[in-house]
């Protein structure tokens, strides 16, 4: 019910590789030429490619949790990040629907031949929401604060390349040059979601070492300035946040109307999904990006004149998987675990389990069919990197039995026993707050009962679970979910590299414990510095093949992203990348007068 998405926190920062598309550059070029004479003082607008809409109106969106901070430097939780997208803007933005990078505050950018230096030119005439101009100094200030070791901003490490940080300097009046410490294929994606901060508001606090205490949720609206489509108007703790249109926003539509269209956006907080759904259905909120399959089918059952716009975007980047404890436990004193090690850490055992699990059943029963069965750790929702190279062997209990028999695990009556005669049984730990994972576990439990394996389930509170998996390593098997923030494989590095902290099954290895882990290390390191996209994809496909052969974790399913929007809303651009709907708020508009609250 609460924190139903355990994946909170396992949000991987988006990184990726993509050069500006030809079209974008052409458009940007046109735009630099066009507006100078036409609008005089007006900024060098980014022109929206969406249909022209009508201004006005108020939109209500419900957030699952209350944002924790208004300061982008502090934003760790999903809600704060969503709010950040309304209030602030970045230099280069990942366009969520296409998963590609696009120009934002930086009007254009170029890459040096060695791939180590990027030059970004700012749009002319940019202004913060309080009317103050945005200059190169603000950009430099933002990065200075972000990279300052003394500030300890949690987002700092996102900029780390090969252990070192990039350096910035001003080039001329309107450009900055970013020097990377090493070649980095997806460098443009680094800039996404780095909000450019107003120096005039924050510099004093930064100098006195108190910048992280600024812009808390209690801060006055007048204190906050940004370059996002909206600005803060009012905050009622625990109830709602009200945003008004930023009159200095830097986008316009093709008819010349300055965006955003909406006058006001209200964020309400619905910690429980029931109230969220009830509100949406009652028309009290207008966007719903976390629909469950049941919610989806209940909305689609409404009469046509009441039915909202509904879309099944297919599998998202979220995936659930089962894995077994592969840590070297010698000398750990966990005797119960040590006794099971011989089969628990055998790849044939994992294969047998994988063969016996009814993944299609999970997708059908737990997600009412609104989920896709996974064959590797790359979800089909990842359009750029899903290779389809690995295929899942068909479910076969007989084959699973054969595998187990080959390992020396034999059926005695109804019970599978190991060579020492003790029954084969293990405990699956999962997030207690995630009812979907509890149901998955119940299905797996029933499936494995057919093999004679007794599975116990231990729902744990989320932080206790993570503590067990990553620190104390006192567990046998666990179900976790990952939700990648970005599609680029670089996001997977901490999980795939054998010395990674997120190498769930055996984290922080000094030396790769197995040959195949060493091979993955090599492939992943090779792809990151490679500018050639085709070779990167080949390398990554190889990694996917190794994973599905060795099964360090059993990928189960990837739920579909189901969204709903009010039927009179236009320019709704949903994406499988989070946030699924509100990234395009600046272009959304109300089609009919009567739905303009």
């Amino acid at each position: 019910m609460l924190n139903r998405k355990l994946i909170q926190g396992l949000v991987f920062k988006r990184r990726g590789h993509c050069s500006p598309s030809g079209l974008t550059s052409l458009l940007a070029l046109l735009l630099t030429l066009l507006p100078v004479g036409l609008w005089g003082q007006d900024p060098e607008f980014l022109v929206s490619r969406s249909p022209v809409g009508r201004p006005g109106g108020r939109l209500v969106v419900s957030l699952r949790a209350e944002p924790k901070t208004l300061l982008p430097l502090n934003a760790l939780d999903a809600s704060s990040k969503e709010i950040q997208g309304l209030l602030h803007a970045d230099l280069i933005h990942i366009h969520r629907p296409s998963q590609e990078t696009r120009s934002a505050l930086a009007q254009q950018w170029s890459r040096s031949r060695d791939g180590m230096r990027y030059t970004l030119r700012l749009r002319r005439g940019l202004k913060f929401s309080d009317g103050q101009p945005l200059t190169v100094a603000d950009v430099l200030f933002t990065f200075q604060v972000l990279l300052d070791e003394a500030v300890k901003a949690p987002g700092r490490d996102l900029l780390r390349v090969e252990g070192k940080f990039p350096t910035l300097r001003a080039v001329g009046e309107d450009s900055v040059e970013v020097a990377l410490p090493a070649p980095y294929a997806p460098a443009e994606r680094l800039f996404d979601s780095i909000a450019i901060l107003p120096r005039h508001k924050l510099e004093a606090a930064y100098r006195s070492g108190k910048i992280l205490e600024k812009w808390t949720m209690g801060a006055a609206a007048s204190e906050i300035a940004g370059t996002g489509p909206f600005r803060l108007k009012e905050y009622l703790p625990g109830q709602r946040m009200v945003f008004e249109r930023n009159p200095h926003y830097w986008k316009r539509d093709s008819a010349g109307v300055r965006l955003p269209y909406l006058n006001e956006v209200v964020m309400i907080f619905s910690p429980n999904p029931e109230a969220e759904l009830l509100r949406f259905r009652a028309g009290e909120s207008h966007l719903h990006s976390r629909l469950t399959a049941r919610g989806y089918s209940s909305l689609s059952g409404l009469p046509p004149q009441e039915r909202p716009m509904l879309q099944d975007l297919g599998p998202g980047l979220e995936q659930h998987f089962l894995f077994f404890n592969q840590n070297d436990l010698t000398g750990s004193g966990m005797s119960a675990l040590l006794a099971k090690r011989s089969w628990l850490q055998d790849v044939r055992f994992r294969r047998a389990i994988s063969l016996a699990i009814d993944r299609a059943g999970i997708a059908r029963l737990v997600f009412q069919g609104k989920a896709s069965v996974l064959s590797s750790h790359v979800s089909p929702g990842n359009r750029l990197w899903f290779s389809g190279a690995s295929s899942l062997p068909a479910r076969s209990v007989e084959e699973a039995r054969r595998q187990l028999k080959a390992m020396g695990l034999i059926l005695k009556g109804d019970v599978l026993v190991d060579p020492s005669g003790s029954p084969v049984s293990f405990t699956i730990a999962m997030n207690a707050a995630n009812s979907e994972q509890r149901q998955m576990a119940a299905i797996i439990q029933e499936d494995l009962r057919g093999l004679g394996i007794t599975v116990a389930l231990a729902p744990l509170e989320f932080r206790s679970l993570i503590d067990r998996v990553l620190n104390t390593k006192d567990y046998e098997a666990a179900i976790l979910a990952l939700r990648d923030g970005d599609v680029d494989p670089t996001a997977q590095m901490p999980m795939l590299l054998s010395n990674g902290r997120m190498h769930f099954w055996r984290p922080n290895q000094a030396q790769p414990a197995t040959e195949w882990e060493a091979e993955i290390d090599r492939l992943m390191k090779r792809q990151i510095s490679d500018g050639n996209e085709k070779r990167r994809k080949e390398n990554y496909a190889q990694v996917q093949r190794i994973i599905s052969r060795e099964l360090p974790f059993l990928a189960l399913v990837s739920p579909h992203v189901l969204i709903a929007a009010h039927r009179n809303l236009r320019n709704v651009q949903p994406s499988v990348l989070a946030p699924h709907l509100i990234d395009g708020l600046d272009e959304m508009y109300w089609a009919a007068e009567n739905n303009k609250p």
């Binding site: 926190g9 300890k152 490490d157 625990g238 009652a282 206790s464």
Partner: protein, 330 residues
């Protein structure tokens, strides 16, 4: 004699308050320390989840750990918390980056509002029915009301919330819990959204407490009806209205007042679960979130507020009894 009684009573009253406050302070001190110590014991801390995010390096983690003071020994943290308390601070909320006091106060307001509303609803429903039932014990309607009250007592709050949700969805009644966005800027719109948000949790809470008010009031009223001075007053031919308000009501009010004193103590803790389930923006959801995210100062602060209210309520109830019961007074 009355003169000596009052001069005796005031110091007695003061001394009770003083000694109970002292005991309460000791209890609160212990409670806060226990809460801190428990948090130390639970696996995982505020940064466990951050640590699981690959974006954050070990050095940054160490820096954050230092910034939040997570590695400081318990004793020192507790001492500095106490020191902050003297300045009216409850310690920093780790996830909200601000003092827990500023975070808790608006939620306290919401929780108090909900509980007072629920109390009002319960009283408005229960008292007239109780008086009716006491006056007409033989009536069929009174019997059904009594049975209904028993059923309402047996209906768990959570089940009631579920039922209300189901009704709301089946008939399209706009009454999900929690605070909604007002449809327009006018005060009427604000009030409407407030009431629709309050409805579910307040009804759920009131349904649980109304039966006890009903039972006590009915018993007190029928007892008062049997008092000889009431019978005398009625025989003397006083109008029923006068008898009701001048004789019966004061006599029946006594037990009600002490019951109310007791329920005021729970004003910050009685509704936590209902708030969480219905999404009312009170202490409940915040406390749960803080527990799950190990936001220790917020939890300790919330616990302190709830416990203080509880103790103050107990004390108030005792004082009321002390004042009203002549036997204890003398």
């Amino acid at each position: 004699m009355p003169a000596t009684q009052t001069s005796e009573r005031v110091p007695g009253w003061v001394s009770v308050v003083l000694s109970r406050s002292l005991q309460a302070a000791v209890t609160l001190g212990l409670l806060s320390f226990c809460s801190f110590a428990l948090f130390e014991w639970i696996p995982g801390d505020f940064l466990t989840e951050t640590a699981a995010s690959p974006a954050v390096s070990p050095e940054t983690l160490a820096g954050l750990r230092d910034r939040y003071g997570l590695d400081t020994p318990l004793g020192i943290r507790y001492a500095s918390w106490l020191e902050g308390l003297t300045r009216g601070q409850l310690g920093p909320s780790l996830s909200y980056h601000r003092d827990a006091m500023g975070l808790l106060l608006p939620r306290l307001g919401a929780t108090v509002l909900l509980n007072l509303t629920a109390l009002l609803v319960a009283l408005v429903v229960a008292l007239p029915l109780a008086i009716f039932a006491a006056q007409n014990p033989e009536s069929r309607f009174a019997g059904w009301v009594g049975r209904g009250m028993q059923a309402s007592l047996a209906l768990p709050e959570l089940v009631l919330v579920l039922a209300l949700f189901a009704v709301a969805q089946a008939y399209g009644v706009p009454m999900p819990g929690g605070a909604a966005a007002p449809a327009d800027e006018s005060w009427l719109g604000g009030l409407y959204s407030l009431l629709t948000g309050l409805a579910t949790p307040a009804i759920a809470l009131a349904a649980g407490t109304a039966p006890s008010y009903f039972g006590h009031m009915r018993a007190a009223w029928s007892e008062a009806l049997a008092e000889s001075y009431v019978i005398a007053a009625r025989q003397a031919g006083l109008p029923p209205k006068v008898v009701r308000w001048r004789y019966l009501f004061p006599a029946a009010a006594n037990p009600m007042v002490s019951l109310l004193g007791g329920s005021l103590g729970g004003i910050l803790s009685a509704s936590l679960l209902v708030e969480t389930v219905t999404g009312w923006p009170g202490l409940g959801p915040l406390l749960l979130e803080a527990v799950f995210s190990r936001d220790v100062y917020v939890v300790v602060g919330a616990v302190m507020f709830a416990a203080s209210a509880q103790m103050a309520g107990n004390l108030a109830a005792d004082l009321v009894i002390l004042r009203m019961d002549p036997r204890i007074r003398s």
